[in-house]
Symmetry: C2
Subunit: 393 residues, 2 copies
Amino acid sequence: MSFRFEIHGRDGAARVGRLETPHGAIETPAFMPVGTLGAVKGLTPQELESAGAQVMLANLYHLSLRPGVEAIERLGGLHSFTGWRRPILTDSGGFQVFSLSGHREVDGDGVTFRSHLDGERLRFTPEQVVAAQERLGVDLAMVLDECPPWPIEEAAAERSLERTLEWARRAVAARRRPERTALFGIAQGSVFRRLRERAARELAELPFDGYAIGGVSVGEPEAERRAVVEWTAPALPEARPRYLMGVGTPEDLLHAVASGVDLFDCVLPARNGRHGLLFTRAGVIRIKNAVFRDDPRPLDAECRCPVCARVPRALLHHLVRAGEITGAVYGTLHNLRYFLDFMADLRQAIRSCQLGERARSRAVSSADGNRTESLAAPAPGSAFSGGSGGFRP
Amino acid sequence: MSFRFEIHGRDGAARVGRLETPHGAIETPAFMPVGTLGAVKGLTPQELESAGAQVMLANLYHLSLRPGVEAIERLGGLHSFTGWRRPILTDSGGFQVFSLSGHREVDGDGVTFRSHLDGERLRFTPEQVVAAQERLGVDLAMVLDECPPWPIEEAAAERSLERTLEWARRAVAARRRPERTALFGIAQGSVFRRLRERAARELAELPFDGYAIGGVSVGEPEAERRAVVEWTAPALPEARPRYLMGVGTPEDLLHAVASGVDLFDCVLPARNGRHGLLFTRAGVIRIKNAVFRDDPRPLDAECRCPVCARVPRALLHHLVRAGEITGAVYGTLHNLRYFLDFMADLRQAIRSCQLGERARSRAVSSADGNRTESLAAPAPGSAFSGGSGGFRP
């Protein structure tokens, strides 16, 4: 089977494993950089590989609008089109479509929406979304789900969940190339434990290759988000990879890994990197701050990224202040390396049963507010979050 | 001596040689990528090195405004600040200052101007400009010159030239670290043969390490620009490197190399690259054109840059149309590689006395207007030229 998932070690609920795909294996837990339109903003595929990226994420909604699924298929699929040779996961676009408030109509069969680019009327159904991702030739595909807003009442969340579950059953039935494209179900249910557990239970009865936790990072408080992960992850099938969509900070990732999650994506490191909010082992720094104007040190002396290998904080301060494109490229390159190294470190910690110590030392470091800025996710609507769109691409 | 220049071969007036500097040798003729503010827009130093860049250009005017010469000196100099370990040449900023029409006052002693960023009043004198570049620790420094506009009457051009020559003499007298920072004189004289020859003759009497041809690419027609090169280059000292400032297209470079010029810089490849005007061995292509939407081929099958190694023209079309930063990065990376490979090819042609054949085959290829778009420099003021600022950074 093309999508064998093996668990090689455990530390509490956390697992370290390996997911095999037609384009290579992914060591888990893994962070997947986001290349919404077919490229991670500012980086070449070669730089991403050097940074340790094992899998890239792209987005069916955005690629459907331009250049279109047919155009990519004619070019030999998404790997040929992007030049990325390792595994690709596409998000179905459900999240994007349901973010287009006022521009979409849901019916039992699917969802009709208008392109955010030119207003063109388009339609997604569960079957089309599976077929489109199979045509792109991606390794990992997501079902079409309904992503409810936060806050939402429980009854409305349950009606929405029932639609998502019905769509999941239709998605499974629509598969034509299961040996080439794995399909993941998505558990919804907002912040309600009963709904999340129902979602996990009903999805687990379907033969998905993996299971995702969706509908988080939509504005809910951190405590609610973490509770959703703690309820849902253990209820998902033990033998399949679990993917937490659109989350988040290193602390969120650590918490979810400890809860048994294996895959992650988030635009946070790249988006923050472009704006000069940079992750280091001593905390997050806002490189525009005047204190970095004359700082000769690398961003992070322990980091082995191309930026830390060469340039001082003073140059990053200068370039980001001047609005130079190179400042955005440097920030992205470094932040993604930071997240990828962080996940490699968590894999090592699980193998040696030291995840608890990692969590404690990290909590101490984060609490040292004098030296480090907050590691928390920026508030929705701030310059660093991209607004209510949250952290899904 | 730190700045030995050896000529290893000739083909007509063209020479192939080697310029030694404290940060390594430069094989000439050489193209110098422009990193005005301390970084080539969108690229890391490592990518530039892999592309074959031997020397990077930066700009004293821009760096004086921010972060300031003192700040860079405190950080250990421009090499430490930028992370670029190979030779650096700084332009004096004369060109930039004289482009600030209405914001500058020239007197016999120097030039007073207002920052284009915040209106702060600043002053450059020939002595300060030499001292500043020595403090930056650059390998190759340029004198302060007066860069007259085009068109200009001959009498005015001569008065301006006399000031530039006087400033050149003062610059030579101001040197304090000649073993660490080479100094180049700049020949002005607009489009007047008598003035250009006078400039070359009088500069040659001064002990510069190299000699530049300035005051071109300021809007003059191609034929005038080429005549200036043909008059000036042979009048400059044979044993020293010759540098044509801010020029230009591959055809301009080939013409100047054949006239005996050794060093070049131009923002053209990077600026055009950011906007999707891409150089290939079959001519220049405007990647936004609809014809490239479904083109599965690499930009240039013979190119060994990271872009051509991986991605099809269709992806570049898609990214540039979508305004993605990665489109700008890809275009810059490829175009600079094209220019650097082009110069390496000219060096090889001179060694084997085949420069004439190169010029003839290139002329035939350029004339094939059905397959290729114009290779000529865009008109001043067009989206691709950056307006009347020309091609100096």
